[in-house]
Subunit: 499 residues, 2 copies
């Protein structure tokens, strides 16, 4: 076995995956619905082929050969080998017929989720969620290495090397910090004016603005594109084809504005990975959490920055053709950073958002580490919302059935979003040593920020673990205090609180 | 070997091809150009896989088994077997390394063609075209069965069972007929007014109109979609996902109008194939010529019909918001059917179009049956344009380098376009026995026309050969007189000629 032969096998699997990527993108952006049955067959066939290849004899042979002869691998080859080995161990350990049964269960759970949403009733999907949980509990022993608890195993599939013990501490600190900020705001804050946020801004006006902003932030439209979709996402076929999508609301321009800024962050990451990782599983983000750190750097760090908005405001006014001529910049900026408790995660503001994640994290831990019954979940959910956010869902659509993740088997995923917040704030703090962020964002050239992120994060793709990336980039391990401090500075300013 | 196993193999090849279809559609409609290198790798890999499977051991085994046991096949299974066998014999006969070399030659020829267009000089692609011709001359003996001449072999790859001997006769008749009509028009005709055709019609206005018309004609947008592209086409991923594209010119609305009507005809064909052929190579058109007969039925039969346009004119005026309020219907209709000699095939009107094809046919025959040198081609081309159309290209871009076909190796393809004209006119003649075409096109319900075509053509997909389809549908073999008669009636009316 030669390195070249190994990399060729890896490349062919990546080529299959990139075809699957396009099939997925197309399904979400404009495939005629009537074609979905045929599409399902195509996707099923190609993904089956990709999976079989990824655990097939050629990969097995390569892994056992290079296990003995790692010295025959180049630097890139070795990094690829490590990643392929990790993926192999994750995928290969489950008996194929159980994996197939699990995939069927996921399909059923998705249908049940749609029904539960319609009926606003978790009861409609309870049995299917229980089945997913049972499968994962069956699989965890196959996946488990040295992790301390069952939930650690799931968590690590999205954020390698993170532990429940550590995350418990971190989330406790974040929770306390956010709740303190919220208490101060409630007591002494002056809420910003927000009435004009619902003024009509046409889709074309919004497009012009957000495309302009995304370009300035460094998203390269010649290596990507922006399409319409129901659920916004970024999907990369390769580093020269990293596509983003958004939805539009003509009476709520800020949704697409922050949405596109967010997805552009994901896209910039993919576009900036070192070409030496092309056609390998390293040509992607280091983890879900690190990926979110890049989209959230755009959305909550740059998107909360006053100099940034001061710079963009004239362009915004130009794009919106007079609609906001009577609004001062101060009012405009403050309106974007309103915070208030809400029941729906994806509509939450940047201060309360992490609380939504912590609630889900705590429930997932109860499920996998405490074996709590699914019957109890809606009440636990609602109680936690009442406790952390002071509001209680009136039905399950406002509550436990709002997210697609659990019916998709993605237990352990939610923490990534909050990690993204914390990483982003920590990266901002470190970046300040090298870049005058405020000055850059007030200028015509944002490239110093993108370049810093490329140098410290993007270029490595998935060749380094989150821990190492964050430590190398910031000089310390994950530290949630930067997020709390940043939120405090942003929201105390908006809410006119002088400490 | 069971039928089911055979059909499963066939299905998997079709699934690969449908993924390739989407990759192709995406490349033409909006893929970021920078992604083309990656895309080429994906397409190369998947098309290689599809080709290998199509000539692979499973297909070989199935073909030899069912060669002995055709009785074990269902009706559909037998039809699929015949098609797969034909394709296999076509594909398998060429040594793989020669086929690979040919594919490289095609890539080079395409690049040379682009250069030749830029330089307006056939000399820039002469050597590459010679290479393509040499390859095809090398391959013809592999492909040849009972065909009389070399060019018959190429012709049959696009139109099975058609012969040069027959086509020579047919084209002679068409040429004479068209040239007579042209002579009469030149002598006695009154040219229609056309100045208003260049009035500005926005893309959105055009979209509204042509989408409305395509829907009325029976193109099902819930099983298709319309996108923008440089070169218009229809591409079907399956019968529930048959996509069409167009280009727009705001000062020439008739281009997209007739373009979309044309592509919709291709799309309706694919959408109407019997579901029993799903996931088989029979779920497509019977031949290039039959496919064109459906697009051209829309474009030149319906698109030349006065009742159709009288019905659509109010809708057109509504969509164009007053731009044509001063134009009478008579002037509007006549303007759409102007005829004049032109050098560019894709811009030709429906009367002169077949002459462009006949010129190409005659040259292709010279190349493959008379071994004429490529050096002579530009002069022959220009002489023929002068002889048949009375105009002479001033450079090769207006002449021999205008088409992509030859650099793509598609010798033998051009006649399909003219066959489509003749089939369409012959189908119209036969349809009149069952359907009051003029009345239907004056009405709100065009379905009788679509249904007739589905009954006689669409439903069979590729399970029947062109000859049989046409004979069953019209009661006779291909007869070009219907085209000539139809053209005469349309153009003599427009040009106010009373015979």
């Amino acid at each position: 076995m030669k390195e070249q032969e190994f990399l060729q096998e890896v490349k062919e699997i990546e080529l299959l995956n990139s075809a699957l990527g396009l099939l997925e993108w197309d399904s979400q952006t404009g495939m005629p619905e009537a074609g979905s049955g045929f599409r399902g067959e195509t996707v099923g066939y190609l993904s089956g082929m990709s999976f079989e290849r990824s655990v097939g004899p050629k990969i097995q042979e390569a892994l056992s050969y290079f296990d003995e002869h790692p010295d025959e691998l180049s630097e890139v080859g070795l990094a690829v080998y490590k990643q392929v080995k990790e993926d192999y161990e994750l995928n290969h350990s489950i008996p194929p017929e159980r994996m197939q049964a699990y995939n069927t269960a996921l399909t059923n759970a998705h249908a049940a989720w749609l029904k539960a949403r319609k009926m606003k009733d978790f009861g409609q999907m309870k049995a299917e969620i229980q089945t997913i949980i049972d499968f994962l509990k069956e699989f965890i022993p196959y996946w488990k290495k040295e992790e301390a608890t069952n939930y650690d195993v799931l968590l690590n599939q999205y954020e390698p090397e993170l532990t429940v013990a550590k995350l418990d501490q971190i989330f406790a600190q974040v929770k306390t910090g956010i709740m303190e900020i919220r208490a101060v705001i409630a007591e002494k804050g002056t809420a910003p004016r927000t009435d004009f946020l619902s003024r009509k801004v046409t889709k074309e006006q919004q497009r012009k603005f957000v495309i302009g902003v995304a370009e300035q932030l460094g998203y390269d439209f010649s290596r990507g594109r922006l399409d319409d979709t129901v659920h916004p996402f970024m999907l990369d076929l390769n580093r020269n084809d990293a596509r983003i999508t958004t939805r539009w609301d003509e009476t709520n321009f800020s949704m697409a504005t922050f949405g596109v800024i967010h997805e552009a962050g994901h896209g910039i990451y993919e576009q900036s990975i070192d070409p030496k990782y092309d056609y390998t599983p390293l040509s992607t983000g280091a983890s879900m959490g690190i990926h979110e750190s890049q989209s959230l750097f755009n959305e909550i760090i740059i998107g909360s920055n006053k100099q940034f908005w001061e710079k963009q405001f004239p362009f915004f006014k130009e794009c919106t053709e007079g609609t906001f001529d009577d609004i001062t910049f101060a009012d405009f900026y403050d309106s974007l950073k309103e915070t208030k408790a809400s029941l729906i995660r994806i509509e939450a503001d940047s201060l309360t958002y992490p609380l939504h994640i912590i609630i889900r994290y705590e429930i997932e831990k109860l499920i996998f580490n405490e074996d709590i019954s699914v019957d109890e979940l809606p009440k636990i959910w609602n109680d936690k919302y009442e406790e952390y956010l002071g509001i209680r869902p009136e039905n399950d659509l406002e509550g436990i059935v709002q997210d697609v993740h659990w019916s998709g088997g993605s237990f352990g995923y939610f923490p990534s979003y909050a990690l993204g917040y914390m990483y982003a704030a920590q990266l901002r703090h470190a970046m300040e040593n090298d870049v005058e962020i405020n000055e850059v964002l007030a200028s015509d050239d944002y490239s110093p920020i993108k370049n810093w992120l490329t140098e410290h994060i993007h270029q490595y793709g998935a060749s380094r673990k989150p821990n190492r990336l964050i430590k190398d980039a910031t000089g310390e391990e994950l530290n949630p205090q930067y997020l709390i401090d940043y939120m405090k500075s942003v929201y105390y300013d908006v809410y006119k609180i002088n400490e």
